[in-house]
């Protein structure tokens, strides 16, 4: 029960295998990110504060995999999310910015998140969220037309996409041709129903992977987002990867 010194609700936070992501070890383990804006929640998520040995405090925000496909992919065991401290990320389908805020935590003050969302309704929340997080550049524009926002975006290390559109592969390819470094990476969430609701999910994922391969993408892994999302997969890979020099070809 309670009582004793400092009670029984002490939480220990440990680094996750993915740099910039942490695990809060309490009664139940939870995925967390280090809050870039301590004292503020973005979408009423819970926060936990941990005291360092030197007395300083660090605040973390709980990252709910039922509300974030990226968090679901991490818990699904994805090998690499490529989003890490200092990274520049182009985020397509930013919605109200809940996941974007965690990506902003991960890349930290030296990283940048270009967050593209077309819907004005969620765009308002996104713009408001970005006011407090200066590593997030909000872009209310149609991800189908990257030329429209070419003045706002630099070259990026990673494209994350969650646009839930039938032509998502084409949208990601077009954005990559403008903004993704050669040797950069993509992480895309595919909702089978949004692409083709008549085929089995696995067949849809396969055909999407094939479309990506035709656009200079090299898919490296695929994880399902079960049990957090139904018929969703997350595909991760590289873009314009350097050709390995052949042996004997000096």
């Amino acid at each position: 029960g309670r009582g004793g010194m400092k009670g029984g609700n002490k939480v220990v936070v440990e680094p996750h295998r993915h740099e910039g992501v942490f695990i809060g070890k309490g009664k139940e383990d939870a995925l967390v990110t280090k809050n870039l804006v301590p004292g503020e929640a973005v979408y009423n998520e819970k926060r936990i504060s941990v005291q360092n040995e030197d007395g300083t405090k660090v605040e973390y925000r709980i990252w709910n995999p039922f509300r974030s496909k990226l968090a679901a992919a991490i818990l699904g065991g994805v090998d690499n999310i490529w989003i890490k401290p200092g990274a520049k990320v182009l985020y397509l389908g930013a919605a109200s910015g809940t996941t974007v805020s965690h990506v902003s935590d991960i890349v930290g003050p030296t990283g940048v998140v270009y967050a593209v969302e077309f819907s004005h309704r969620s765009g308002r929340d996104l713009v408001n969220m970005a006011k407090k997080r200066t590593n997030v550049i909000p872009i209310i524009e149609d991800a189908r037309h990257p030329a429209k926002y070419r003045m706002l975006v630099g070259m990026v290390d990673v494209i994350f996409s969650d646009v839930a559109q039938p032509d998502q592969a084409r949208i990601v390819a077009l954005n990559a041709s403008y903004f993704l470094k050669a040797g950069g990476h993509f992480v895309i969430s595919i909702k089978a129903n949004c692409i083709d609701s008549t085929s089995p999910a696995e067949a849809v994922f396969q055909s999407e992977v094939k479309k990506l391969q035709e656009e200079q993408f090299k898919p490296a892994e695929q994880v399902t987002l079960e049990p957090f999302e139904r018929d969703h997969a997350c595909v991760v890979g590289g873009y314009r990867m350097p050709k390995k020099s052949k042996a004997g070809n000096a």
Partner: protein, 172 residues
Amino acid sequence: MALYLLYESASGYSLFLAHGIDQIGQNTEAVRSSISDINRFGKVVQLAAFDPFESALDALNQCNSVSEGVMTDELRKFLEKNLPTVKEGKKPKFSLGVSEPKIGSHIFEETKIPCQSNEFVLELIRGVRLHFTTLLKSLKPGDLEKAQLGLGHSYSRAKVKFNVNRVDNMVI
């Protein structure tokens, strides 16, 4: 035939001159491999002119026009000042590579500056985007991101119809 590149950044307009690139002899694959390395790219593509935007409001106006494929008076002045003159009845000895065909045709209609926007030009512009802050020595590290941040907010706030002058007022 000289090839210039127009690059629209959040900080201002810039022109680059692509030296010694004979388009017929070049394939896109060769350009792709050369843009990653700044030592190689910097020899081929050099800054010809840069014109910073005067204010945040000016940047927003330029960004809105560029987004719609429209050449503003400021862009026209910048191009006419920094590109070779186009004489009537003579075929110009240069062309301007642009990111998107719509702004190219508007520039050509108004100024007769020949524009092109093809795979080859887009690859070169990818290189400019990758190395922009290195090629443009007047920008300090972080300056470009600051400009993008300010412009991203003003561009997006206008889109969702926030009143630009008031923080919490929105029009449905």
